[in-house]
Amino acid sequence: MSGKPRLHVPQPPARPGEAPDFSYVEISEAGSVDRPDVNARARDIENLAYDMVRVLDEQHTALGPWHPHLEADELIVALRFMLLTRRFDDRMLRAQRQGKISFYVQCRGEEAVAVAQTLASDPGDMLFPSYRTQGAQIARGRSVVDLMCQCLSNSKDMCKGRQLPTMYHWKRGNIFSVSGNLATQYPQAVGWAMAAAIKGEDDIAQAWIGEGSTAEADFHHALTFAAVYNAPVILNVVNNQWAISTFQGYAGGERRPFSARGLGYGVASIRVDGNDFLAVYAVTKWAADRARQGFGPTLIEQVTYRAAAHSTSDDPARYRPKDEVQQWPLGDPIERLKSHLITEGVWSEEQHAALDAEIIEQIDEGWTEALSYGSMTHGPFLDKSELFEDVFADMPTHLILQREKLRRTREEEI
């Protein structure tokens, strides 16, 4: 450091053409971090924000106090959901490349986050996802056809053509609507949880944002309100190292982990290996119990890696080494759970291949069905007058007139 105040310009460890370097990621030994009681005071468990909760070791064995001891069939269901998420992702990427859908956002490499956290929630808990949390839909049993119809903006689109692909919602499944505006769901989740507490209901809320989005005001509002009212909410920061082209240092992650942001508010904060299904599940369950039992909010940072492009509009080769993902020290979440199950003797490569084939078939069938409900270019289409519906509960006069005007113009020859 110089003696002069020069502007610090955060630098990612490697740029295109350079060798990937993840030495900055501080990683704890699997099983090495204590698991406190869910009623521990935040100030007494600050180490959890700096260590990294991990359950799976390099030999794919689960160990330590955070081991959730799930049944084998539960884990196989989870594996299925993660794989389904990935294959869905693959298919939608292809669909976008083929011009069938306008846009898509993959969650490759982050499947454990959404799937484990959703499975660790109760069905009545409200989930406030980001555009990279599609695994939550899958893990709550949403039909992939419904998701595809949304991506197609077709006649069965749950959003009636009003949202970009990936901006799903599921009222019945208690999954809130994805917003195109980053981080806005964070204080909303806190408010939802406050309402549950006011009503004396048991349900909790859970929200996800990326590490880049922590810079937005809503992150701070959510933490402040969650702390002040001790709201039953889990606030997740999915640190996939990148926010479009900027690495996590641009959100202020160079000196302290994002989980540490919760400590100053007195909010329990945990840093977890985001590619370790068992660890993510365990910390989420802990946080959910804590919230449900009245001990307040938890901030969780999932350390993971955005294995794909930011979105179909992005080309990451412009700003990071192409082979970074291969060097990512926490591996691939699906591979790791699969290997664990094989190590445990409850799964095999053959079973896995069969599952994969089955899922791909399911996706292909789903896609065919979804296409039969139309797309933006091929019917059946949504009724054009849907454009004016749902602005308000009851359509006011001016919208009735505008709808009529549009109809007339469409029919006229000019």
Binding site: S179, G191, A196, I198, H221, T224, E389, D390
Partner: protein, 338 residues
């Protein structure tokens, strides 16, 4: 019936709704124990409990954001923004989120949120306690925007706002909280007890959002206005002895175009009056619609009388404020133009 000023009427509206509907809650800075810097929520926390009337951190964005979440979870929150001048940190959550939630989810999610906020000048509050930002909300599809001009309307419209399943931005012209104000700062203050609209039922009642009120009938010209300026316009019309029809629109969005158009077609003259900065203000929308719908009836151009296109000053308040004299001059000019 009771005599109420606007503060009491608003308080009564919230009191009635807190008692009537368990899902009603209030959140805002200083609204709880203290009862609000303008006393609008006075006594409500004591009466309805700490879980119904919440003091909030000083974060308008957080207040709106969390209130949206509460509304999605079945409550009917009333969020108070202490001054309309401080609503901007909450603007993103209002515009990007609550205004569009029903639309983007095809009706599956929606948020019955009411945002109350004192607006307008005339209280020596300077630029950060005097603004009238209704135009930037009226422009946003999915919001209803209301501004009452008297206690009776205030209570009836606030109850409608709370009951509405769509978000409502509810502006309260603070200069007339305690009494009608005709634009003359040198006159002694007049309390609402002297005004017929200070008669307010103590119980539940509601007035429809989206309906203008003809404050006074007339044949020579139509004055379209709202909030504090309703009273200024009345005084100005009297001052020049004009037979003016004065319309208090009460709701900016959705706008009651029918009532305005019917009047202007009758009178052939129109002026639009508001406190906010004129340029790209809500008055422009009224003028644009009136000229479209009444073109063949208009005998003179429609004139706007508004705040000047400067920030709201402290020392020159009565030069800035569109007072009686400016409104009177506009009436005269429009009638002479014919």
């Amino acid at each position: 019936m009771a005599r109420m000023n606007m503060i009491q009427a608003l308080n009564s509206a919230m009191d009635v709704m807190l008692a009537r509907d368990e899902s009603t809650v209030i959140i805002g800075e200083d609204v709880g124990y203290f009862g609000g810097v303008f006393r609008c929520t006075d006594g409500l926390q004591r009466k309805h409990g700490e879980h119904r009337v919440l003091d909030a951190p000083i974060a308008e964005g957080g207040i709106v954001g969390s209130a949206i979440g509460m509304a999605v979870n079945g409550l009917r929150p009333i969020a108070e923004i202490q001054f309309a001048d401080y609503i901007y940190p909450g603007y993103d959550q209002i515009v990007s989120e609550v205004a569009r939630l029903r639309y983007r989810t095809a009706g599956d999610f929606y948020a019955p949120l009411t945002i109350r906020t004192p607006c307008g000048g005339g209280i020596r509050g300077g630029q950060t306690h005097s603004q009238s930002p209704e135009a930037i909300f009226a422009h946003v599809s999915g919001l209803k925007v209301v501004m009452p001009s008297n206690p009776f309307d205030a209570k009836g419209l606030l109850i409608s706002a709370i009951e509405d399943d769509d978000p409502v931005i509810f502006f309260e012209p603070k200069r007339i909280y305690n009494g009608p104000f005709d634009g003359d700062p040198d006159k002694p203050a007049v309390p609402w007890t002297t005004h017929e609209k200070g008669e307010v039922p103590e119980d539940y009642y509601s007035l429809p959002i989206g309906r203008a009120n003809i404050v006074r009938g007339g044949d020579d010209l139509t004055i379209v206005t709202y909030g504090t300026m309703v009273h200024v316009a009345e005084a100005a019309a009297e001052r020049v002895g004009a037979d003016a029809e004065i319309i208090d629109i009460r709701t900016m969005a959705p706008l009651d175009v029918g009532t305005i158009v019917t009047s202007v077609r009758k009178t052939g003259h129109c002026i639009v009056v508001h406190e906010a900065t004129g340029f790209s203000g809500f008055g422009a929308e009224i003028v644009a619609t009136v000229q479209q719908e009444c073109f063949y009836h208009l005998e003179a151009p429609i004139t706007r009388v508004c705040g000047w296109d400067t920030p709201y000053p402290h020392a020159f308040e009565w030069e800035y404020f569109p007072g009686q004299k400016r409104v009177a001059a506009a009436i005269r000019d429009v009638l002479e133009a014919a």
